[in-house]
C-alpha cells in the first residue's frame, strides 16, 4: 500500500471518528443536557471547520456525511441537513481556497453565520405555515445559536489540528 493511500485511509478514519463522537454527543448527551430547555447544534461547527481547513472536497464530503447523520437524528427534517451541511462544507471550502484566511476570525464568522442560517431555516416553516408567535421562535433560535457557540473554540482547535495533520501528511509525500 502506498503512503498516499495509507494517509488517505487514516484521514478518512479520523473524520469518521470525529463525526461519530460529535453525533453521539449531539444526539445522546446534549439532547438531555439542555440549558433553558435548549440543546446545542455542534455538527455544523465541525463542517465549517473541515471546510475551512481542508477545502471544498473534504468539507463537502464531511458535510454530506454529517447531514445524513443529522437528518437521521432529527425527526422534523427529511433532507434539510443533508443539503445544508453539504453546501456549507463545500461553500466554505471554496471560500477558504480563494478568499478567506484559515484563522480563528474566519472560523468564528463562518460558524456564527452558519448557526444563524440553520436557526432561520428551522424557524421558517413555523413562521410561515403555522403562524407561530415570532418572539417564541426568535427566543429558541437565539438561545440555540448562543448555546452552540460555546463549542466554537474546542471545535476550532480540533478541526484545525486535523487540517494541519492532513497538510503535513500531504506535503511529506
Amino acid at each position: 500500500m502506498s503512503d498516499s493511500t495509507k494517509n488517505r485511509i487514516i484521514r478518512v478514519a479520523g473524520h469518521a471518528a470525529l463525526l461519530f463522537v460529535l453525533y453521539v454527543l449531539q444526539t445522546m448527551i446534549f439532547s438531555r443536557l439542555r440549558l433553558w430547555d435548549i440543546a446545542p447544534l455542534i455538527l455544523p461547527l465541525a463542517v465549517v471547520g473541515v471546510g475551512l481547513f481542508e477545502g471544498p472536497s473534504w468539507g463537502g464530503g464531511f458535510g454530506l456525511a454529517a447531514g445524513v447523520f443529522s437528518d437521521t437524528a432529527f425527526a422534523d427534517t427529511a433532507v434539510l441537513f443533508t443539503l445544508l451541511l453539504t453546501a456549507l462544507g463545500m461553500g466554505i471550502g471554496l471560500l477558504s481556497t480563494y478568499l478567506l484566511s484559515r484563522g480563528f476570525p474566519s472560523y468564528l464568522l463562518c460558524s456564527a453565520l452558519a448557526l444563524m442560517a440553520v436557526a432561520i431555516i428551522q424557524l421558517f416553516p413555523f413562521l410561515v405555515f403555522d403562524r407561530v408567535n415570532p418572539l417564541a421562535l426568535l427566543r429558541v433560535a437565539v438561545l440555540q445559536t448562543l448555546y452552540s457557540m460555546f463549542f466554537i473554540l474546542p471545535l476550532y482547535y480540533l478541526t484545525r489540528f486535523m487540517g494541519k495533520r492532513a497538510r503535513i501528511a500531504g506535503s511529506s509525500q
Binding site: G55, G60, A73, F74, D76, T77
Partner: protein, 279 residues
C-alpha cells in the same frame, strides 16, 4: 477556478450526485417511511445508543438511590395503603366486568379491548432538535409497529404516537410536539381537539382547541383521548387543564393542558396496536 474543477471535479461531482440521489429518494417516500441510508445509520448506531442508555440509566439509578432513599421509603408505605384500597376496588370491578361480559353477549357487542395489543419498548435517544419533541425507541417493523400507533406508559397515559418506522427502531412524536393533533374528551364527555403548539411546547403544555360553543373547559379537568379517527384508542389520559382562555377571534374558549406523563423520566413505554378483526 478552472484548474480547481479539473483536479477536484470528480469528487465534487460525486458528492453532488449523492445529495441529489438522497433528495430524490426522499421525495418518493410516503409519510413515515425511511430511506435505506437512514435505516443503515440507525442500525449501526443502535448498539451504541443501547450502551449509552444503559450507562446513563445506571448513573441515574445510583443518584436516585443516594438522594431519594427516604422519600422512596415514605412513598412505599403510602403506596402499600393505596394498593390495599385498589385491591378492594379490583374485587368489585371483577364482579362488574363479569356482569359487563354477560350484558355485552346479551346485546351482541364486541369487546373493544380484545382488539388491542401492547408491545413494550425502551427509549433509545431523544431528538436533539429544539423545534420538535420526539424520541427513538428500540422496536420497529420487526415488531409490526406502524405509523400512527399510540404510545403510552404503564399507567395508560398517552405519551405520543409513532411517526417513522425503521427495521428495528421507530420515532415517536410526543404529545408536546407542535405537529400533533388528536381527538380529546373533556370530563363532561364533550369532545374537542388536542393539539401541539410551538410556544406552549416551551412550557411543557399543549392546547385544547375547537371546544364546542357554549361549553367551558374546567380547570384541573382530566382530558382523555376520544378515539375518533386514527389509531389512538379511547380513554387514554392526556393531561389536566391548566388554563382556560377566550379564543382571540371569538367563538368560544380554548384551554392549555399540562400532560400527566413526565416525559423527562420516560424509560420504558408501550405501543398500542389496534388489530383488525381478521388478525
Amino acid at each position: 477556478m478552472k484548474q480547481f474543477f479539473k483536479t477536484r471535479g470528480a469528487v465534487i461531482g460525486a458528492i453532488t450526485a449523492t445529495v441529489v440521489i438522497i433528495t430524490v429518494m426522499s421525495l418518493f417516500l410516503t409519510a413515515g417511511q425511511v430511506n435505506f441510508i437512514q435505516n443503515g445509520v440507525q442500525a449501526v448506531m443502535r448498539p451504541v445508543e443501547t450502551g449509552i442508555r444503559g450507562i446513563v440509566r445506571t448513573l441515574e439509578r445510583t443518584y436516585d438511590y443516594m438522594h431519594n432513599f427516604d422519600l422512596l421509603e415514605e412513598r412505599y408505605y403510602a403506596l402499600r395503603n393505596q394498593i390495599a384500597g385498589y385491591q378492594r376496588l379490583a374485587r368489585e370491578a371483577e364482579e362488574i366486568r363479569e356482569e359487563n361480559i354477560r350484558l355485552r353477549e346479551f346485546i351482541g357487542l364486541i369487546d373493544r379491548t380484545e382488539q388491542l395489543r401492547y408491545v413494550d419498548a425502551y427509549v433509545l435517544s431523544w431528538d436533539p432538535s429544539n423545534w420538535t419533541s420526539a424520541f427513538t425507541i428500540d422496536r420497529g417493523a420487526d415488531f409490526h409497529i406502524a405509523v400512527g400507533d399510540a404510545v403510552i406508559t404503564e399507567r395508560h397515559e398517552l405519551v405520543g404516537r409513532v411517526t417513522e418506522v425503521g427495521t428495528s427502531w421507530a420515532t415517536v412524536q410526543t404529545i408536546l410536539d407542535p405537529a400533533i393533533r388528536l381527538g380529546g374528551l373533556m370530563g363532561t364527555g364533550v369532545s374537542a381537539v388536542v393539539e401541539g403548539n410551538f410556544a406552549l411546547m416551551q412550557d411543557n403544555q399543549l392546547r385544547l382547541s375547537l371546544v364546542p360553543g357554549g361549553e367551558t373547559p374546567l380547570l384541573n379537568d382530566t382530558i382523555t383521548t376520544s378515539g375518533y379517527g386514527g389509531r389512538i384508542p379511547q380513554g387514554l389520559t392526556i393531561g389536566r387543564i391548566a388554563g382556560v382562555y377566550l379564543e382571540p377571534h371569538g367563538g368560544g374558549y380554548f384551554a392549555t393542558i399540562e400532560p400527566i406523563v413526565d416525559l423527562d423520566r420516560l424509560i420504558q413505554i408501550f405501543i398500542v396496536q389496534i388489530m383488525d378483526r381478521e388478525e
